[in-house]
Symmetry: C2
Subunit: 355 residues, 2 copies
């Protein structure tokens, strides 16, 4: 076997959507002779129930030994009572840190067939095609923190936002490289009128930009970016930003298309990378076979592109998904009169037929 | 004279929009016999040019001695080269800190006459009526910061996010009080799955909520809130959050109506409060008499309500603005075929006639 993929279904709808994506991967493998093999591992609440930890070592070891990780989703009310350090989402924060997944790539493309699902007026949603490049293992997420201390006579808590020059260089270089293969525009987002960390970020980005004369850089304050995404998202090509701003802006950008069930993401590591849909584990519909598998299927396509460098196979999957939508197939989340309603598994078949 | 108002026109269109608002205040004063007097002071780039500082002491003293401050806008490319600590926006950060303006109230209401200006589909924009209550003198804005230090072999910068229990109590109490006079719903926004500061915020908010059994509290992560504002803003009544999240979310929420020129804000202090439109100083159109004065006029109405407790006079201004829009008067920013185009000053007259 040429390529080893670790599959982590996780919780809720995680199993059914990763099953669907693996079905599509197998069909793609047949056609392109990729030689894929699959190892299944646990994470999240499911892992906590079985092993008392949301991220077993065994899972991390398997991920490190593989060529790419396909991740479903984790979380659910069921584990609300669990102590914070053992909650399902710690699996995803732990994987990011332990695999060194320093960059999260979130493409948001509004397919013509789906413009009508956008909360925006059609003329504003049409043609949106952007990628958010979010730093994923630095900033205030992983800075020192204090849950409670006495300070000037009262109780306070704190978190340290911080970035080093090498951290900013690494993520902005990836953004410039990404822009080179796209429309050549990078928007770096910060709050340099208030934060010292943002001023270092802006200085460093300007230095990195010198190495990419063919790419245009502009800087935007995060509040302004939040506005612009809401009124004219089509203006953006590549947006690069820190961990916290990236968390907020990628979710805001994700809904521009009105169909978050179809959006993929890639978390790039120096060694192994991880691919997952941007939606959650949706425990309320788990096991019903109605979840939209397209976000996971397109994540699998990103795995083929970025981790295996199998561009033709990646494109084949993306084209098949577009075709399935253009042919009128819809899972429950996007179903409307006049379309063909299909289950999670049937959608996988519909996509496979088009590969 | 019964009430002293400090007027700070600031930079760019600041002069013409505060002139328009004072005209409306004078008409309101005639009708309601309020006894208003006005003192004009400088701030921003204009103050820097005259006095070498964006916030002269004299301005702060006048603000403190008055019953309310009406602020235009500050900033402009002209001062881009000025050293960071003397830039125009330092005037606004300085006033916040020196006047103790701990809460920023940003109402976003989409008038029926303006639904068509929203970037959202009309059915999503219709009926939006929310207020964001943003903490304004704490958090990462005013925490310790470091522009540059050597750390583990490389250069880094940092900023300290932090909140104390009394700070959170003060702002959330104001949010609950605000909700009591509205639809009785508070949404507290944080990132408690990642930040220690947010966990203290959430704990404290839950305590404060016990004192308001008639108000419903729910907690939302900031990324989810950014999504919800973009897809279903009408679900919100009062949103309360920290300084940085508030900065981002209030600007995102502001564009929901598609006409930021009409949005006011109030920055509430323990003593004096400050009122300003949410838009900037727009140097490109300054002096042309085409700026929309409605955001400033409605800020003046908030001044009458919150600082002078002249509710009837405040309502009269708000009703006059609504009527001017319903009667089809539009400044350049909102002008479309079939409407009556008016200048900044003419719009002030149109509003005055309706008081
Ligand atoms: C679950 C949570 C910790 C996570 C984050 O904030 O990074 C999520 O919101 C995401 O964006 O993947
Ligand atoms: C000018 C800037 C410092 C300010 C802020 O971030 O608070 C502005 O964006 C605002 O929201 O009033």
């Amino acid at each position: 076997m040429a390529y080893k993929i670790t599959v982590i279904p996780g919780d809720g709808i995680g199993k059914e959507i990763t099953d669907a994506a693996v079905k599509v991967l197998k069909k793609t493998d047949e056609k392109f002779q990729l030689g894929l093999s699959y190892t299944y591992k646990d994470a999240g609440g499911t892992a906590y129930d079985k092993f008392g930890t949301p991220l077993p070592d065994d899972t991390v070891v398997a991920c490190k030994a593989s060529d790419g990780v396909l991740f479903g989703a984790v979380g659910g009310d069921k584990w609300d009572g669990v102590e914070p350090s053992l909650r399902p989402e710690k699996a995803i924060l732990g994987l990011r840190k332990q695999l060194g997944l320093y960059a999260n790539l979130r493409p948001v493309k509004v397919a013509d067939a789906l413009v009508e699902y956008s909360p925006l007026k059609p003329e504003l949603a049409k043609g949106v095609d952007l990628v958010i490049v979010r730093e994923l293992i630095g900033g205030i997420y992983f800075g020192d923190k204090c849950e409670s201390e006495q300070y000037k006579g009262s109780e306070r808590a704190w978190d340290l936002e911080n970035y080093s020059v090498p951290e900013v260089e690494r993520i902005t270089k990836l953004a410039f490289e990404t822009a080179k293969l796209r429309r050549g525009k990078v928007t770096s987002v910060d709050k340099a009128n208030v934060l010292a960390t943002s001023r270092l970020w802006r200085r460093t980005t300007a230095e990195v930009a010198k190495g990419y004369p063919e790419v245009a850089l502009n800087n935007l304050y995060v509040d302004n970016c939040a506005m612009q995404l809401a009124i004219r998202p089509a203006q953006f090509d590549v947006i690069v930003t820190g961990n916290l701003f990236g968390d907020i802006l990628s979710d805001e950008a994700a809904v521009v298309g009105g169909s978050i069930g179809i959006l993929p993401s890639a978390s790039i590591g120096t060694d192994t990378s991880l691919y997952e849909p941007i939606h959650g584990s949706a425990p309320d519909i788990a096991g019903k076979g109605i979840a939209n598998p397209m976000g996971t299927v397109l994540s699998a396509a990103m795995l083929l592109r970025y981790s295996l460098h199998e561009e033709a196979a990646a494109k084949a999957i993306e084209a098949a998904v577009d075709q399935a939508l253009a042919d009128g197939y819809r899972t429950a989340d996007l179903y409307k009169d006049g379309f063909q309603r299909v289950s999670t598994d049937e959608m996988a078949d519909v996509i496979c037929e088009r590969i």
